[in-house]
């Protein structure tokens, strides 16, 4: 016979963004616990609202299966005396809770030991379930809190607990709450409710105005919103993130629409949407041409009674916000971009580094260097220069002061209003991209250069100020910015050796007297390895084998695209029959070179003793000419082609010759070749077994 079990944790309102994750976590931990306890079940259904997390488990076994275990005791030699069992044996039997007569002897690897065979009767389900408070207490939340006089930490105060095995309460206690059969209905529409049995949960809650099934609730919201849109002839973008949030703010959704004054439509669309979506959790509506309409749709946590109050209240709040926004929009347009840029002299980028204005000066240096390197045309360079000299101006506008999430977006709007070219305006918006991990990248080249330059300057200067991310501490999101650089550079296929670039940046800034308050030159190697770490992360999300990622990023190259391409090339090659042999041949060279560092003497062909030396020398000469001229595929192929030459060389040549001149000459050849190999990849990292 199997059972149904219901567990419901009643809470003060959960943060909307943790509801779904929390019920998933609860389900996972309860499943793991029941598995570990060998209590089987066939079904598990999750329920979640802002005030409750619940699980309904079906087909739950009546009890754990019985088990037989065998416990090894002392050896027979110790266990037996002439008069029967020794003290050790008796003690063992006692500790295992069996009679001495039930001990048995078994041989293990030729030695006899006593064993206790135990039959353990499975525990009934109710016993196992009554331990669930420990599982609940083990849940983790992004923010934990305490309340009242308790030391217990949870996401929000726990108000009630329901634990029903079919019709019976499973006795358990969490903090000061005893489990029972009483759940709560909707905060205003409902009332407390006694559940007769675990199965009744969903239907019973619906009677007290709670849609406990989050999917069902979300579907109802969607249907309601779409019905309004159909009736009114509107287009609604059912933003998945907003829908998820709204769904976790209500137990009994009723969608409604409201309006705002037509004249607010002169405010930029993004401002209106931010006010509605981010601040009020409203859905905005559009006509069939995707033009915003002066209406919004929102969702009440309740029924339709007195809905007019709710509509009126929401309209009033939105009007107040839009009134502010319109005021800011008007005020900002009274100032020129030059005014705002001047104000940036008063705005600190970071107190230990520089002002925001000075940051823009440095970024102009960086954009100029990158722009030239990646082959922008003269007109493009001119627009890039203009963008870099103003791109932070919107930070001091009233609008961005109020709606910080609109930084860059307002910059673009205002730039266009003030007659900047579309390319400049777009770059101002795009320089923040990607603004989330894996987010959209700049679509324009000018935007891409500005985005990379801005991030590079932040990383360089924060590192120089010794504010390096560690562990979970990365307040300036330098890791995300570094990852952004990697993604953009790779997407743009730019050849950009970082060591050269960063050194030029620092020197040029010094020459123009744009240097920040902190010394950047010493941290360049650190910045490069920081970026290499991000390349590794970038590659880990792809197919490339772990050791190949390490080999490519441990190369002496500092070119982002090159490292990613060489990792990809190695991945492509690694299944081929000759891969192992190629890598082994190359590794022989780099190993010898690394052990015998130093000798970069000019190689004297007169000291060659065999043809293999001559052949290798010629091959490396050729390689030096051709390497890194075409593609990573060709580079790999050139290195692979050396395999017979290298192997022949090692067969015929004793590198560690007695004669010091011969030895130095041969090591120099090894070093010369190793340097080229290491530029491609650190082949030692590649596993060839």
């Amino acid at each position: 016979m199997t059972h149904d079990f219901l567990l419901e944790i009643g809470l003060e309102e959960l943060p909307a963004n943790v509801v779904t994750a929390s019920v998933d976590q609860l389900a996972q931990k309860v499943t793991n616990y029941l598995k570990a306890e060998r209590l089987t079940f066939t079904g598990l259904k999750k329920f979640s609202t802002p005030r409750r997390l619940a699980l309904q488990i079906s087909g739950l076994a009546d009890r754990q299966p019985d088990s037989d275990t065998e416990v090894k005791g002392p050896s027979e030699k110790i266990a037996r005396t002439d008069n029967g069992w020794s003290k050790a044996a008796l003690g063992f039997a006692h500790s295992q809770g069996i009679q001495p007569d039930d001990l048995v002897i078994k041989e293990v690897k030729g030695v006899a030991y006593v064993f206790a065979n135990k039959h353990v009767t499975g525990q009934p389900a109710v016993t196992i379930l009554s331990q669930l408070p420990n599982v609940i207490a083990s849940l983790n939340f992004p923010t934990m809190m305490r309340w009242g006089t308790h030391q217990f930490q949870f996401v929000r105060p726990i108000k009630w607990l329901v634990a029903l095995l079919d019709t019976e309460i499973v006795p358990m206690q969490l903090v000061d709450i005893q489990a029972g059969r009483t759940t709560q209905g909707h905060r205003f529409l409902g009332h407390p409710l006694e559940l007769k049995q675990a199965q009744d949960y969903q239907a019973a809650l619906e009677e007290v105005f709670v849609l406990a099934d989050a999917q069902q609730r979300k579907q109802r919201i969607k249907d309601q919103i779409m019905a309004i849109a159909r009736e009114q002839g509107w287009q609604v973008n059912l933003d998945a993130q907003l829908l998820e949030e709204v769904n976790n703010l209500v137990e009994w959704p009723t969608s409604f629409y409201g309006q705002f004054d037509q004249h607010f439509l002169t405010i930029p669309r993004e401002v209106l949407i931010t006010s509605m979506r981010n601040h009020q959790r409203f859905f905005y509506v559009e006509d069939e041409k995707n033009q915003l309409l002066p209406y919004f749709i929102s969702v009440r946590n309740g029924n339709r009674d007195h809905l007019e109050n709710v509509i009126q209240g929401n309209e009033k709040v939105l009007a107040a916000r839009l009134y502010d926004a319109a005021f800011f929009y008007e005020e900002d347009q009274k100032h020129s971009i030059a005014d705002f840029v001047t104000k940036l002299k008063e705005v600190s980028f970071h107190d230990q580094i520089s002002t925001m204005y000075e940051k823009m000066e440095r970024v102009q240096v960086i954009t100029a260097l990158i722009g030239k390197q990646v082959g922008l045309s003269q007109p493009e360079l001119a627009e890039l220069q203009r963008a870099a000299s103003i791109y932070k101006f919107d930070l001091v506008t009233e609008m961005v002061g109020e709606f910080s999430e609109l930084q860059g977006i307002m910059g673009e709007k205002y730039a266009l209003l003030q007659g900047e070219s579309p390319a400049v305006a777009t770059a101002i918006r795009e320089h923040y991209l990607p603004n989330v991990a894996g987010g959209a990248l700049p679509a324009t080249k000018i935007g891409a250069v500005l985005a990379v330059a801005d991030k590079l300057d932040s990383i360089l200067t924060f590192f120089a100020a010794k504010m390096v991310p560690s562990g979970s501490n990365d307040p300036y999101a330098l890791r995300r910015q570094a990852a952004g650089i990697v993604s953009i550079v790779y997407q743009q296929h730019w050849q950009l050796p970082l060591d050269v670039l960063l050194n030029e940046v620092v020197q040029t800034e010094a020459r123009k007297q744009f240097s920040p308050k902190v010394e950047q030159a010493p941290v360049i190697p650190q910045v490069i390895s920081f970026l290499k770490e991000r390349i590794k992360r970038f590659l880990k999300d792809t197919e490339v084998r772990y050791d190949l990622v390490n080999a490519a990023t441990a190369s002496t190259s500092t070119d982002i695209c090159f490292m990613i391409s060489s990792a990809n090339e190695l991945q492509k090659q690694q299944n081929k029959a000759d891969f192992k042999a190629n890598i082994e041949a190359l590794s022989r060279v780099t190993r010898i070179a690394s052990k015998q560092a130093g000798s970069f003497a000019t190689i004297d062909p007169l000291l060659f003793e065999n043809e293999a030396e001559v052949a290798l020398h010629g091959a490396v000469d050729q390689l030096q000419n051709d390497f890194s001229q075409k593609s990573v595929a060709s580079d790999y192929q050139q290195l692979a082609n050396l395999r017979p030459v290298i192997n022949d060389y090692f067969e015929k040549t004793m590198i560690m010759a007695e004669n010091q001149n011969l030895k130095a000459n041969r090591l120099a050849e090894m070093n010369r070749l190793a340097r080229i190999i290491n530029e491609f990849a650190s082949v030692d990292h590649i596993m060839t077994k």
């Binding site: 809190m145 703010l249 009033k316």
Partner: protein, 320 residues
Amino acid sequence: MPKKMPLQTIASQLKQFWSQQGCMIMDAYDTEKGAGTMSPFTFLRAIGPEPWNVCYVEPSRRPADGRYGKNPNRLYQHHQFQVLMKPSPDNIQELYLTSLKELGINPLEHDIRFVEDNWENPSMGCAGVGWEVWLDGMEVTQFTYFQVVGGLSMSPVAVEITYGMERLASYIQDVNNVFDLEWADGVRYGDIFKEPEYEHSKYSFEISNQAMLQQLFTAYEHEAQRLIKLGLVHPAYDYVLKCSHTFNLLDARGAVSVTERAGYLARIRKMAHGLAQAFVLARRKLGFPLIQDDDQRHAAQEKYDAQHPHSVKQTSGGKN
């Protein structure tokens, strides 16, 4: 809903309601501050093991929010109705909702939501977990379980409820402009506050003497530090409040660069932390007298002594 409940009636209704729930009715504290939280009746009394239940109206000054009396929603000084209960009662949300009913707001006729909003005041070393309460989309209350105050972890935990009086009143009176609110019969909010709003905005944004304010900040800071060392907690706290308000004035003037801002805030935080510790120590010396139950009081004393072996040298007065 009675459409025209005057603002002063809202305040007195709330006082009456919360006093029935065991809160003392206090008055506003007489030093400038940015929020009701900064009254010693909240900031200091939230700390330590003693129970504390209080409510009061607190005029709160935020110089940077001044708009010369021209913006219908923004004010240099607004009024907060502040409730603090320690330990937080189990039914605190229900109490709060009942208080709204006392003001004529029937939840069945509106949409009331608890939307996550965790609160932090780094300059005072404070952090809490809670919600903003939305009434038909308008944030009317901040609801916070304090977790850390003055850098000290709360035990027991205090819950703070802060009603925005103007917001609530503009809702209850159905008024769009704060200056049209009725304060008392026949007297509007604008009649009382419009001119001060203009003058304070003018002063804060244009006229204030920055050099003097900077000197004041430093002078207040030194005095606070000196008093903390002497264990004179309350006068020291007054000077911390003065520092905070002086900083806000400098900030409104745009006189504080981002650089300096961090520095000023760190200085205030350091003092707040020192004060919090000094306050509990002072209460310990008194024996935590607000704990009524003898056993609990002794337990709290012992717990404190065990955690602060070097702080309490002289506790003879405490154990009676």
